[in-house]
Each structure stands twice: as C-alpha cells, then as structure tokens.
Amino acid sequence: MSAAAAKAKRAVRRPVSIASFAQSENVRRDDQHNEVEMLMPVVAEVFANIGITKNDIDFICSGSSDYLIGGPFSFVTALDAVGVWPPMPESHTEMDGAWALYEAWVLLQEGEIDAALVYSFGRSSPGNLNEILALQLDPYYLAPLWPDPVSVAALQARALIDAGKGSEEDFAAIASRSRKDALSNPKAQVAHDIPVETLLRDEYVVSPLRRHTLPPITDGAAAMVLAAGDKAREWSDKPVWITGFDHRIETHSLGGRDLTSSPSTAKAADVAGVADGPIDVAELHAPFAHQEIILKEALGLDDGVTINPSGGALAANPIMSAGLIRIGEAAARIASGQAARAVAHATSGPCLQQNLVCVLEGE
C-alpha cells in the first residue's frame, strides 16, 4: 500500500466523540448481583453523566461471553438493564466491549445514526477461568490439552526472555509501576506500592511468571456513549474525538506465530495512524506484565509516553470489559486535559492474538 493509500484508508469519514464513560466497581467476586443488576447502575451512570436517557440513543452494541457464566443468551437478558422499549436497533459481539465500540463506530461512520450506547460485562467468578479460557484455543490440537491461560502466557514470556527483549526484572518493574499508579484509580481492584526487589521474591506460578505478573480475576462491567454530529457538541463542551480506529487478528495456531512480537497490533496502529502525531498517554490492554513490552514495540511508543496511568489490566481485569475500559481511561485523560493525544488498545485471545487500536484526540 502506498503512503497516500494508507493515509486515505485511515481517514475517519465522520468524527465520533466519546461522550460518556462509566464502569462498575471491579471486584474478585460479586455473588450478590446478576448481570442485569451489575449493568443497571453503570448504564444509569453513563447516561446521567451527560444528562441523557435511553431515548436519546439510536443504537446499542454490547460485548460479553456466555461461556463466563455458563448461561445461554445472557447478552439478550442483559438488555433488560437498558429497557429497550420502544424497540431499538441492537447488536452484540462475543468479544470485549472494545469491539462492540468498533461496531458502533462503523455504524456512526455511515451517518445514519448520531448516538450509540456500548456496554460490556464479564463475571469471571462463577466458573473456572483456567478451563473456560482453554476453550478459546484451536479446538483440534490445543483445546483438548486444556492448557491454562497462565501457562500459555508463560510460553510467550519465556520466548521474550530468550529473544533478549525482556527480563523477569522488567516484568516486575511493569507490575510494580502499574499497581502503584493504580493507587490513584478508585476502580482498581489491586493497588499497592511494592518495590521490584520484593516482587522478585514471589514464587513462580508458571516459570517465568511470578504472581505479580498475572492479572487479577475480576467481575465487572463498563459502558460508553458515542456521539456524532450535533449531539457530540451538545453533550460535551470539550469532545474527545476518535481520530483513528482499526483491529487485526493473527492465526489461532500458537505455533504459527512469533509470540515475541505483535504484527496485528503494528498493522492496526499503522491504519489507525498512531505515528501521525505525538502520543502523550497509552492505555494498553496487557493482562500479563510482559505483554506491555510487546505492545510498546508494536505501537512504536517511546519512553516519553505515559503507559497505563490507570494501572491497566494488572489493576483490574474484568474479562470482556477490560479493553473497553482502556479506551474509557484514555478518553478520561484527554477530557481532563492531562493529555492531548492518546492511544488505547484492547486485546482478545491467547498471547495477544487479536488487537484493536484506537487513537483519541482533544481539541
């Protein structure tokens, strides 16, 4: 693709703003509320933030997975949290809410709607996450072996060390910094200030991954309102604009990938135009500490970029929502004036198999 063609491809046809964002408390185990009850206060908050109601919304898209709670069509019953009457166009992705956001954004690009609600929810506590996540692997050669996600991530971390791209000290430094930053995030599940030397005394969970390099297991939900046209200005004095958006996927065969790099992230970053201007803040969905190193390289981020000021997925990892939350956190940094241009990233699948990149800018 020529430079001009690449530029044309990444051109955003219609500006879309992130008008509002809300997330639930992130907890290890919410055994009090069902999915509707988890979502309802989050949806109410995302509307109340900008003084709108469901009647101002043209389209709803959600992201969730029935495998997490073992209940069929939980995404349909979850709509009860919004109350879709009169009937409203609605869609669902069996993906992190970041992909639901992408679908809503594409529809907004077409110009037929002006406002969309995106939400996602994930309850990791009702089942055994190690078993559930094994089922996202290739069903013929990998899934029958039931490899747990920590072991699969450990293969990647080991490959990274062998390639000379990172060390256990580097992983510990990322975990230490992330959870220290999480102290200022009221929604963080795991936040503390523990120095690298102390972390390195942790036992291995699966070598070379020690406990601190793992994401917490989290129940949580998040919601976002997107606006275009007049509504974007009406609902915000200082809109946060999506100026680049793309997602790419790699083969599901782990043996067919170089686990130490992320070409799908690099490709998405190119199409989204990450390098078209300076990046102040990056919110990266790196559930395992070592994955930040891979993503930083793929996105071409220099050491001047503030990474995961929220603490990232190491502070809270509500499955199906953690990616959408990265975009919400990055937008919040722009809305507050702390950043002018930010990149947010979401991932899905084992070892960063599928990646989404979203560039956000203020005015």
């Binding site: 009850e37 309802m40 469901k54 209940g71 009860d80 009457w85 009702p126 089942g127």
Partner: protein, 170 residues
C-alpha cells in the same frame, strides 16, 4: 513391523471427540433471590416497576421496558389463568413426567407476565385457554428456594376467565 497398521492404511481421521465439561455457580442476584426465598415459604413474590406499574414474576431485577430497578415486592396469590398451553406427547431423554402431559403458560392474578407450569388433575383433551388454576405445593418440610417447590397447577373449579382479561398477555 508385521501386524501393525500404517497411517496410510487407516486413512484420514474424520472425527475427533474432545469431551468438554464446565461447572458454574449460578448467581440469581438480589431480585431473583427474593422470588426464590418466596418459593421457600410457599408463595409467589413478584416485583413492581415503579415507572409503568407492571408486576414481573420472577423479576431479574429490572423492568425490561423501562430499564429501572423493580424494588417493590408484591405477594401474588396462588391462583392464575392458563393463557396458552401444549400437550406433550413426545418422549425425550431425561423426561421425568409420564406422557401425555400438559405444559402451560400461567398468568398469576395480579401479575403482568406469565410463566411456564405443569398442569395436572385434568384430562389432556380438556385443557383450554382461560382455564383457572391453582398451584399445588410440595409438603412444607420439602419447600426449597426453587421452582421444584411447586408440584404443579390444577383446575380450581372457577369458571373460565374471559378472554378480554388475558388477551394482552399472549
């Protein structure tokens, strides 16, 4: 090598069995827990939407029309109306009731949504829309927070309900 079969002789693998079993803990939530605790006491507890006034039984915690929490409990009686039904004549795996039997949607008096129940103590060819029925519960010491506490519904002897009273709930 004599006696061993080669891969070529066996031909390509055409099927692969990969047994999967996952176990989950169900979280009914605050609203459904109130319904289930009601069953444990031998009664149906619905919840009212503060916006439209409709009564859901069971409620999942919100009014699906208005998207607001259903906070007010409503004790519903034991009596309702069959809005629609089917007679099950087909045996299937795991069937615990002798066929033929009647599966019906029962609209409890005071509720705005029907739910599925087993109808007994009536010949299958006499089941009809509008039939008035009452719940038959298990013995008090057998009550649990589960729909298993309701053994079945049976005709309660009242005249059939007028179609106008349930036509909006079909």
């Amino acid at each position: 090598m004599s006696g061993q079969t080669t891969a070529e002789e066996l031909g390509p693998v055409t099927t692969l069995a990969t047994p999967i079993r996952l176990d989950f803990e169900f979280t009914p939530g605050v609203a459904q827990s109130r319904f289930l605790r009601g069953l444990e006491k031998g009664k149906f507890v619905g919840q009212r939407c503060p916006t439209c006034g409709k009564v859901y039984v069971p409620s999942r915690g919100s009014c699906p029309t208005d998207g607001v929490p259903t906070t007010e409990d409503v004790d519903l009686g034991n009596v309702g109306t069959v809005t629609t039904y089917c007679v099950v004549n087909v045996p299937f795996a795991g069937q615990s009731i002798e066929i033929p039997y009647i599966c019906a949607q029962v609209l409890l008096d005071g509720a705005d949504i029907s739910f599925m129940g087993l109808i007994q103590e009536i010949p299958t060819d006499e089941i009809r829309m509008g039939l008035r029925v009452e719940a038959v519960w298990v013995e008090p010491e057998e009550l649990t927070p589960s729909l298993a506490s309701v053994r079945y519904f049976r005709p309660n002897g009242e005249p059939d309900a007028d179609y106008e009273t349930y036509k909006d709930y079909l």
